[in-house]
């Protein structure tokens, strides 16, 4: 963050300033004066240097696949927008909004059965969504979404599929940031093999097989456990079909695999919590929200509404 860097630099500069001032104020009959200044200056300089050095870690940069998915927008509006406003969309959102959106998307993902249905439904779609084209357009992805490796892009397609099956008030930009976590969690069988215990436990619970569409801001409980636990392994394979071309690219992306387990802990954690309250819906939602708090970030009123875009209605497009 640019602010933090100025804070670190300012801290060091202030320490140097105090050292210089202590040098000027040196008077031999009162050593405690310049001694204090020297001590404070040294502490600040050393603290600032250590703080700066701790910031050196490998930075993950995700190449955003931006300016894509133009077919979804109406061409006229898009033309106008492209001509007039392309530069205005690069407003950087603060990271906590990203995390929140990501979490909201994770929790509102539907059952795989629906996705499968939608996949079937859109085979006729002229746009070759299901081919492993690495450069599928993605709406609103200009603000730095993830998906460097092909895996992410492959999962992007899956995200598109979901998206097309939903109502008109989805928000695609909410999908974008969650792409990496999506793909991390839906990675192939191998990383998720560690979850088999949880999955078996959870899947045996049953719950409602048909996820009610998450309306409003609080997603319902059943869809939240959904894809992480409810999906029996064969569903994964169905999905893996979509991913087949990209699954072979999995080995080079060792990094992503590493993220997968860490990223996937979240749904299992949540799944466990949802387990406890699996029978309750509605009124229990707020409490669950507070428990999870979207990773410690409370809802703020100005944020866009989270989950209405993923209001899956199974009969929306028959």
């Amino acid at each position: 963050m640019a602010d933090e860097k100025t804070f670190r630099v300012g801290f060091i500069v202030l320490g140097l300033f105090l050292l210089a001032l202590g040098t000027f104020l040196m008077s031999h009959d009162r050593p405690q004066v310049y001694g204090t200044f020297y001590a404070m200056g040294c502490i600040m300089v050393i603290g600032g240097v250590v703080w700066s050095m701790c910031q050196c870690y490998p930075k993950i940069t995700f190449v955003p696949a931006d300016s894509d998915f133009q077919g979804i927008l109406s061409p006229k509006a898009l033309g106008l927008l492209e001509n007039g406003l392309a530069a205005e969309t690069k407003s950087p959102q603060p990271p906590y909004v990203r995390l929140w959106e990501e979490a909201a998307y994770d929790q509102s993902l539907p059952d795989f059965s629906h996705i499968q249905m939608k996949v079937m439904g859109y085979r006729e779609d002229p746009r070759p969504l299901l081919s492993a084209k690495p450069d599928q357009p993605q709406p609103g992805a200009s603000d730095g979404g993830g998906g460097g490796p092909c895996d992410a892009r492959g999962w992007m397609e899956a995200a598109v599929v979901i998206h097309r099956g939903s109502d008109e008030d989805e928000e695609e930009r909410n999908l974008t940031p969650s792409r990496p976590s999506l793909q991390a969690c839906l990675q192939g069988p191998a990383p998720l093999a560690s979850f088999q215990d949880d999955l078996d436990v959870d899947c045996s619970e049953g719950g409602s097989p048909k996820p009610s569409p998450p309306e409003g801001e609080k997603p319902h409980c059943p869809p939240r456990e959904p894809w992480a636990c409810k999906c029996p392994p064969e569903r994964f394979y169905d999905f893996a079909l979509i991913d087949a071309p990209t699954a072979e690219d999995a080995p080079p992306e060792g990094q992503q695999r590493d993220t997968a387990p860490s990223g996937c802990w979240q749904p299992s954690q949540r799944a466990k919590k949802d387990e406890e309250k699996a029978s309750d819906t509605g009124t229990e939602e707020p409490e669950q929200e507070e428990e999870d708090l979207y990773y410690g970030l409370p809802d703020s009123p100005g944020d866009p509404l989270p989950d209405k875009e993923l209001g899956f209605e199974p009969d929306a497009q028959a």
């Binding site: 000027f24 008077s27 406003l85 990271p95 609103g140 802990w265």
Partner: protein, 687 residues
Amino acid sequence: MEELVGLREGSSGSPVSLRELWGPCPRIRRGIRGGLEWLKQTLFRVGEDWYFLMTLGVLMALISYTMNFAIERVVQAHKWLYREIGDSHLLRYLSWTVYPVALVSFSSGFSQSITPFSGGSGIPELKTILSGVVLEDYLDIKNFGAKVAGLTCTLAAGSTIFLGKVGPFVHLSVMMAAYLGRVHTKAIGESENKSKQNEMLVAAAAVGVATVFAAPFSGVLFSIEVMSSHFSVWDYWRGFFAATCGAFMFRLLAVFNSEQETITFLYKTSFRVEVPFDLPEIFFFVALGAICGVLSCAYLFCQRTFLGFVKTNRVLSKLLATSKPLYSALVALVLASITYPPGVGRFLASRLSMNEHLDSLFDNHSWALRTRNSSPPWPEELDPQNLWLEWYHPRFTIFGTLAFFLVMKFWMLILATTIPIPAGYFMPVFIFGAAIGRLIGEAIAFAFPEGIVAGGVTNPIMPGGYALAGAAAFSGAVTHTISTALLAFELTGQIVHALPVLMAVLAANAIAQSCQPSFYDGTIIVKKLPYLPWIRGRKISSHRVIVGHFMNCTITTLAKDTPLDEVARVVTSTDLATYFLVESTESQILVGTVGRVHLVQALQAEPPSWAPGHRQCLQDLLAGGCPLEPVTLQLSPETSLHQAHNLFELLNLQSLPVTSLGRAVGSVSWVELTKAISNLTNPPAPK
């Protein structure tokens, strides 16, 4: 950049960002973070503002003291050079003039190269910022170093250039407060709060003035008077607390440096305390105030005219545009040539520094009476015990010297204010007023050698008191403030002249405020800053003006049922920052405002419409998550100008919608208000 979250295997708790997982020594970092959290809990249990205000005060005092220290060393070096260079006139002239020319041109070039905002005083822009306007990048921390370096160089040039410290120092402290506000927000972890930030800025303005003069009372009052149109009493303690910390630290550093024994005033005087003045002298004090008022009107008028002339004249503006350091160097050369001590500077007391000017003018003896019979020689070197000898010339006497000083410094100061360097304009005006007061006081002492009340004990007239009154009156009239009276007392520690000085200040203000805008308002006018002026007087039939007369009727409204193509067309063809949202195209009932950025984002992220035959309209965009701000304040076309003006000033607003029976009919921003007010005071010629 997005952040992934993750959880370390085997650990429970809230997920942390991957960045933190992969950093070095995660356990130590966690330990440190836990320790910091605990520290935060204990420290900030009382309330977090105290620490940041104290930090602000202490930091600004440190910076002020360091600047004074550096300037003193540089000035000493220059004096040594001037002394050691020998008797050759050319060499002495060169050493006298090259020094300020080099410093001023370096100051100008350095600060202008980093940011163009660094020139000038900074108080007019701060006044605009505190009234709610956002001047981008004016409070950026990277301007801090530029301004400190520039200001140090300007002050090191000393009384040759005759500029002060207050304005840029206030700007520095407000910059530091904005920076500390960001640290504050990050440390506490809450989101940015505009009003809280504003409170810190107001306190910072007080700190700036207080640490320059080590005067907390007048610092707070002066900053309130100069920079706010409305001041909330909640912020009072903030300003005082920070200003006291700053002033205390400033004087403490002087003690640490063995310059003083204990905490004292900046300019020590030794006025008579038992009977400082006689009762009839009050009349003379008030007359002095009136004279200062008239002179301040002349000064303000000339200064504003000259500033406008420099901006519009072809040659000068081209010179300023292409090469600011060259212009600064030329002006410094002119000023230094005039103040060359063996030449004209002999009659200007140009060997005195700014502080020594004040010390000599507050002298408690009457020079006219001392030099009436004797004629002391001009010392070769500056005599610190008898600074007043600089003002004495055998032929012209002190009256001639003082009068010449006043005449020359009047236009020299105006010329110096046009140099694009960071400089404050309060101190030179203070000294100018002290010279006026001294001249009048000496004249009265000369006219009444035995004092005014004859018979019994005679109390001779003390021109030092008149100098104090003149300084306070003139500077108060130029800046349209009354707290300069208090500043005069805090600087010298003498409050015995409280009442006459206050009366003089009031008289001067009465004259100046009815004739001319203040120094800072004049700069706002010349620079065309977006500051809302106040409505002068009630006699201009301003009560009959209503909002309907001057509102902006051409507003762009977007109805909820507008199709998206139309919305996109409107958004691309207009350039507004917010659009009024109305219920429907027929009813035009105002519902709220939509920001342009959000609208563009929503339009670009627009999903396809799937319901056949249903054209997408703005309502769908809004339902899809484009944030809509509801309208909380509205004006009616029958609201009076005064009410609208009060609303804007009190709440620091920038614009308001005007609705009639719920229908959006117009909007009022400060542009329309300013035009309405200026049309009132200067009615346009009827066509």
